[in-house]
Amino acid sequence: MRKMSFADAIESALKQAMSEDPNVFLMGEDLHTFRVNILAQFGNERVQSTPISESAFLGAGVTAAMAGLRPVVEIMLIDFIGVAIDALLNHASKVYSFSGGKWNVPLVVRASCGGGYGDGGQHEQSLWGWLAHIPGLNVVVPSNPADAGQLMLSAIEADHPVIYLEHKLLADYWLDYMGTGGRENVNFDVPQAGVQGLVPEKWEPLPVGKAICLREGSDLTFISLGVSVHRCMEAAEILAKEDFSTEVIDLRWVSPLDTRTIIKSASKTKRVIVVDEDYLQFGLSGEIAAILAEENGLKCQFGRIGTETTIPYNRHMEDNILPNVKRILELARKL
């Protein structure tokens, strides 16, 4: 094991994948800056900088993948996927079905996501539920360095399109670029366990669609992903002092969703709270509620915390609207 940052872990896994498979290449805006180390090791044929033309280069990524390459196409912020959504909604996700299961699209879309640093409602969305809504798209959201590297490898090796979302509070270079801008006098609620951590010597992929139980408990289950996992762990720690035993599940994948792990934990604790930074309505938390409701013989109480409005620019309002420890504890104590 070695210690590594979240961002370095992704870079390291990408470099390993690019060394092992010449078909893996990166494409996106400003990659000569944001991926300068990969560029320095592999040259500009494997790290292609593009104009601000998301719909074109993401659409091109789909067919480059169909032609046998393994593109990792970067959309700088997942909010910008709006400009290029057709490539995912009507093409990447559907070619496999349309072709009768004969043509795969091994595409990775990498994008930053999430808020908590004062960038407002067009730059801080999560959108994973929105994307996972489309059959044929897989969506993965790592919460720590080891997962970040391993899941990047899973995404690259998968034969179907995977949206890989890195939270800006975890990826230090994103927070530096978009939040602090090199200043030392601004601080954000960054979960350190997500930013730095031990990672394997050699990257191995994790199974697609497999969640992990980060903390065992018997009274209550928190189901979460990304930065919110760390908020849940903090809340669970506080609840433990009140003699309340809380299980914390990091979903890792929004799609495919690990329903087995969800049901297993719900059957044990009989109380489930989903903590989801994405929008509350018509999303992941509702999906999990449906899965629990559909499970025969399972009776459990259910609660959820998510983002219910456009994310405000005001830092105080923003912190209250995004899932936080206080809101999690309030709901946990009520349930």
């Binding site: 000569h32 800056t33 990969i38 090791q41 500009n44 044929e45 640093y117 004062g118 620019y313 830092r315």
Partner: protein, 349 residues
């Protein structure tokens, strides 16, 4: 050439300086940590905005990009409301909900957006509404040259041309799209591209406020009457603060020890890694990035500063310029002091 009255020049100077002084105050507040997140300034674009806005009449709509402070200031939005918004205050222009990239003023038909190219469709819709209502109003779209490769902007050009809509498309061209040199990712010539849609287009020096004023003085009134039609302006400019405050390339010039210190290790390791591309390609790639950092330094130069340029071009107005400077500076100082005092009082309560 239309003769410019002294009064017009002084008004343009005042408009540019009002925006500049406020943005300098914003820079200070950002540096002090009062403004969170990204901060994109319009410093360097003032001549383009001032020159065009001086021909704008009530009822005209303006769709801006992520550098919306100058058009908002020059269109007459209350600077206090603007400043409070940037500080995320509930009494801000948008109740602290929007922030600098998402400013809106319904009264003045002013919008902004952080999505590159989106001012194109926005302006087309405003122009459509104006034409539909049979007014003589126009709509202006402000965007950078990076947006000229965004599909929705190109579609807007066609839509405006085919529907005969009075949209003034203003491309503020500094040849940088964040850290990318736009000419390296752009095919052909922008003006040819626009003219290909059948839109009249011209290129001007966006650091020369008189040139911008001249170029739009007749073009804008023409768009209002008779057969409506779009018009396109490519105005060259420079952003002294780069893409945003804390610009990653400019930091290499401002704090070279810190920045190079942070990147040299990983970069060297990557170049020399035993696995990877051909060594000549690796070195070539790094050389290109280094040359990009070197080129970014040009932005720091004052030579394309529109305010300094006007001061130099019109030395005979030096005395009046100084008076305007003093007046604006004391206004902005009072504004910032007042706003910060209010904030401190609120915090202490």
């Amino acid at each position: 050439m239309i003769l410019m009255q002294e009064r017009t020049i002084l008004e343009l100077y005042e408009a540019m300086l009002s925006s500049r002084s406020l943005e300098e105050a914003i820079t200070h507040l950002w540096n002090e940590g009062y403004i969170f997140g990204e901060m994109h300034l319009g410093i360097g674009e003032e001549a383009i905005i001032a020159g065009i806005l001086s021909h704008i009449i009530p009822g005209d709509a303006i769709a801006t990009d992520h550098r919306s402070t100058p058009p908002f200031v020059m269109r007459g939005v209350d600077p206090e409301a603007l400043l409070l918004e940037l500080l995320g205050h509930p009494k801000g222009l948008c109740s602290g909900m929007g922030g600098h990239m998402h400013l809106f003023s319904q009264d003045l038909l002013l919008t902004s957006s952080g999505i590159v190219g989106s001012s194109g469709p926005s302006a087309v819709g405003f122009a459509l509404a104006a034409k539909y209502r049979k007014t003589n109003n126009i709509a202006v779209a402000f965007f950078g040259e990076g947006a000229m490769n965004q599909g929705m902007l190109l579609e807007s050009l066609n839509l405006a041309a085919s529907m005969n809509l009075p949209v003034l498309f203003v491309c503020k061209d500094n040849n940088w799209a964040i850290t990318t040199q736009s000419n390296e990712v752009t095919g052909g010539v922008l003006l040819d591209r626009v003219q290909g849609f059948g839109i009249e287009a011209r290129e001007i020096d966006g650091s020369d406020v008189k040139a911008v004023w001249q170029a739009t003085k007749t073009a804008i009134p023409r768009m209002r009457g008779g057969k409506k039609s779009p018009y396109f302006i490519q105005a060259h400019c420079t952003h002294k603060e780069g893409h945003l405050l804390g610009d990653p390339l400019l930091r290499f010039h401002r704090a070279p020890k810190k920045e190079f210190g942070a990147v040299t290790g990983p970069l060297t390791k990557s170049v020399l890694h035993y696995k990877g591309g051909r060594i000549d390609k690796r070195i070539g790639s790094v050389a290109k990035v280094l040359s990009l950092i070197a080129k970014s330094r040009m932005q720091l130069s004052d030579s394309k500063d529109p305010i300094k340029r006007l001061e130099k071009d019109q030395t005979e107005l030096g005395k009046q310029f100084s008076q305007i400077q003093l007046a604006i500076q004391s206004e902005v100082d009072a504004l910032v002091t007042g706003v910060m005092n209010t904030l401190k009082q609120e915090v202490s309560q």
